[in-house]
């Protein structure tokens, strides 16, 4: 049997998600025995032409050229999986979606005329059909391994969509919101990371994006009782998954309230 071909693609991103593949130190060689890394520039200068059986796409679409490139990649990919918050919801760079990009450009670049970029940073699914999403900023390498193993065995990967709290409790971490009064996004955020932040005494900051049924309104209300103001809520929701529907909405609601109250 010929090995299936794997391609790893990069759009606007930090490379952290694709690095997770190389961070599978114990499994990397076993993976390459089961799947042929046909196109993965961060790891190999060998490039085998498509079509590919499995494409992992990292990064968000921020240029007109990338918007075209993703369509070509989709055409060459049998099964296309987005890896990470950038690819899934635009990533941290989606904060530009609220801003005047020309102003952003001039803030950062000496010669803004030479910068050609779209006004928005968007997830891959806004451009092409995506077969599966791995959440996280960065993705969890265990979930990545599960995805690859499931792909090879033709089964559905075990990727839960419930809240971070479930993993937090399985891990035995006392709730930081209840026990310390620390605001935590865990109850509205999808599990997958293993509930790391509460285990380190900090609130979850939402890098796996919204869970399946997030009640951001109720959580925001409770954060306020813990002393978080609307600005803090805006900052919290406008993080690494700022452009994901439910967080975007929650951030906008808080922003409107903040503007109303602060009257800047």
């Amino acid at each position: 049997m010929t090995k299936p071909l794997l391609a790893v693609w990069k759009f606007a991103s930090c490379d952290g998600c694709q690095l997770s593949l190389l961070d599978l130190e114990d499994e990397l060689l076993a993976i390459t025995e089961n799947i042929h890394i046909a196109n993965f520039l961060e790891a190999s200068r060998e490039v085998i032409a498509g079509p590919y059986d499995l494409s992992l796409v990292e990064g968000s679409v921020t240029t007109a050229h990338d918007a075209e490139r993703i369509v070509e990649i989709r055409e060459q990919s049998d099964f296309l999986v987005t890896i990470g918050a950038c690819a899934t919801s635009g990533g941290i760079q989606a904060l530009r979606n609220w801003a005047d990009v020309d102003e952003f450009t001039s803030l950062v670049y000496a010669t803004p005329e030479y910068i050609s970029t779209l006004d928005t940073s968007t997830g891959i699914a806004e451009h092409v059909t995506v077969d599966f999403e791995l959440r996280g900023c960065p993705i969890d390498k265990g979930q990545l391994l599960e995805l690859v193993a499931a792909f090879l065995h033709r089964r559905q990967p075990n990727i839960p969509t419930y809240s971070v709290c479930v993993e937090c409790k399985r891990r035995g971490t006392p709730c930081v919101m209840v026990a310390h009064g620390t605001p935590c996004l865990g109850p509205v955020t999808q599990a997958g990371c293993g509930a790391i932040c509460p285990a380190y005494n900090r609130g979850c900051y939402g890098c796996f994006g919204p869970m399946e049924l997030p009640n951001t309104e109720a959580l925001s209300a409770w954060w306020r009782t813990l002393g978080a103001d609307d600005r803090a809520l805006v900052d919290a929701y406008r993080g690494f998954n700022a452009w994901a529907d439910e967080f975007r909405h929650a951030g906008n609601v808080a922003a409107e309230r903040a503007d109303g109250v602060n009257d800047e």
Partner: protein, 368 residues
């Protein structure tokens, strides 16, 4: 016979159990909470610390005495040991060849130190689920059967406790090998008695003195006082029926506005037993079946092809409350709630099961 056990005697008890081959676990302090962990002497226990419980709120509180069990309950429950949150239940080695099914060995026997009366009831509830029916869960049973239970009667209940309403506490009526009541005055000691022969044998070996009637009485009074200071109450009179006939109550939608569907209540609940099975193949030719705690608040919990049966938070909250207070009776002939108060304290937004049940009762839907 009741014994007087000194603090040194407690140390001897723990050492004795360890020497008998038990892994000894009990309350310890971690990150501002009292949670279970391995203990080897009284010094590992949260001496001088109490706890403060309100809906969605928990804080440690320094006591003005040295009580070792001067708190109510923490976020952990004993189910984490008897029904572990994540457990590899089966390995299927070499899938494509001649598959071999391998079950894990049970862990070393455990001794639980400081089990509250409500938690003894909770353990009994789970015993019923996993061992009381036609099929016995061997993962549970091999943990549960050898477990040595040292109860500690409650003398300082928390603001979310309602064991009296559920008739499960604050004193343990049975289900223990040894029971302790902590007495702080005049000298710090425990009144101890056994509930099983092996408990009696251990106590005999500890070099204790026999308690006088007055000492026993003083200890009883402390537990009786605890019964007077419950943080909460639940009117259980006809409650299973009330809940069962109010499946269409507006309160379910009202609570769904506040509920995060985050599943914390079910995770901290000492009786919630639900789990999911995940089959994970590795890159070699093996498959591992993992059992993980699951919750009726999760979308996939009620999933059937096409979508979840319980799509809304209202439906999920109703399932939780109804199961705890009503349908558990139909299924297992007892209450699924023991009144420990954990779900109230550890709900990140402070939803209170006693308040929700009372609200449903107060405004029963007419004509159902």
């Amino acid at each position: 016979m009741e014994h007087v056990l000194s603090i040194a005697g407690l140390d001897r008890l723990l050492a004795h159990l360890a020497a008998d081959g038990f892994r000894v676990v009990g309350p310890t302090m971690r990150e501002g909470t009292i949670v279970y962990g391995d203990v080897s002497s009284a010094a590992d226990l949260p001496g001088g610390w109490g706890d403060e419980h309100e809906p969605g709120h928990y804080r440690l509180r320094a006591r003005d005495d040295d009580a070792l069990f001067g708190f109510a309950v923490g976020p952990h429950s004993w189910k984490q040991y008897l029904h572990p949150p994540t457990l590899e239940v089966l390995t299927i080695a070499s899938l494509s060849g001649e598959p071999v099914l391998i079950e894990p060995d049970p862990p070393a026997p455990m001794a639980f130190i400081g089990v509250r009366a409500c938690d003894i009831s909770a353990i009994a509830v789970q015993d019923n689920v996993f061992m009381g029916g036609a099929f016995v869960d061997r993962h549970y049973a091999t943990r549960r059967e050898p477990t040595f239970v040292v109860a500690a009667n409650c003398t300082d209940p928390g603001g979310t406790c309602f064991c009296v309403s559920m008739s499960t506490g604050p004193g343990a009526a049975g289900g223990f090998d040894i029971a302790l009541t902590e007495v702080l005055e005049p000298a710090h000691h425990f009144i101890a008695w056994s509930g099983t022969d092996r408990g009696a044998a251990v106590l005999e070996a500890l070099d204790t003195t026999e308690a006088t009637a007055a000492q026993v009485d003083a200890a009883r009074r402390r537990v009786a006082m605890a019964a007077e200071s419950m943080g909460r109450q639940l009117d259980t009179d006809g409650l299973p029926e009330v809940i069962a006939r109010n499946r269409e109550h507006p309160r379910w939608d009202a609570v769904a506005e506040r509920c995060l569907a985050c599943a914390n209540c079910t995770m901290v609940c000492p009786t919630c037993f639900c789990s999911t099975f995940e089959e994970t193949t590795d890159l070699a030719d093996n498959s591992v079946r993992v059992r993980r705690w699951d919750s009726c608040f999760n979308d996939e919990f009620s999933y059937m092809h096409g979508g979840p049966v319980r799509e809304s938070t209202a439906g999920r909250y109703r399932q939780w409350l109804t199961h705890k207070l009503s349908s558990w009776w139909d299924q297992f002939g007892q209450s699924g709630c023991v009144g420990c108060g954990r779900c109230i304290t550890w709900c990140p937004v402070g939803i209170d099961i006693t308040a929700e049940a009372a609200a449903v009762r107060a405004e029963e839907v007419a004509g159902v």
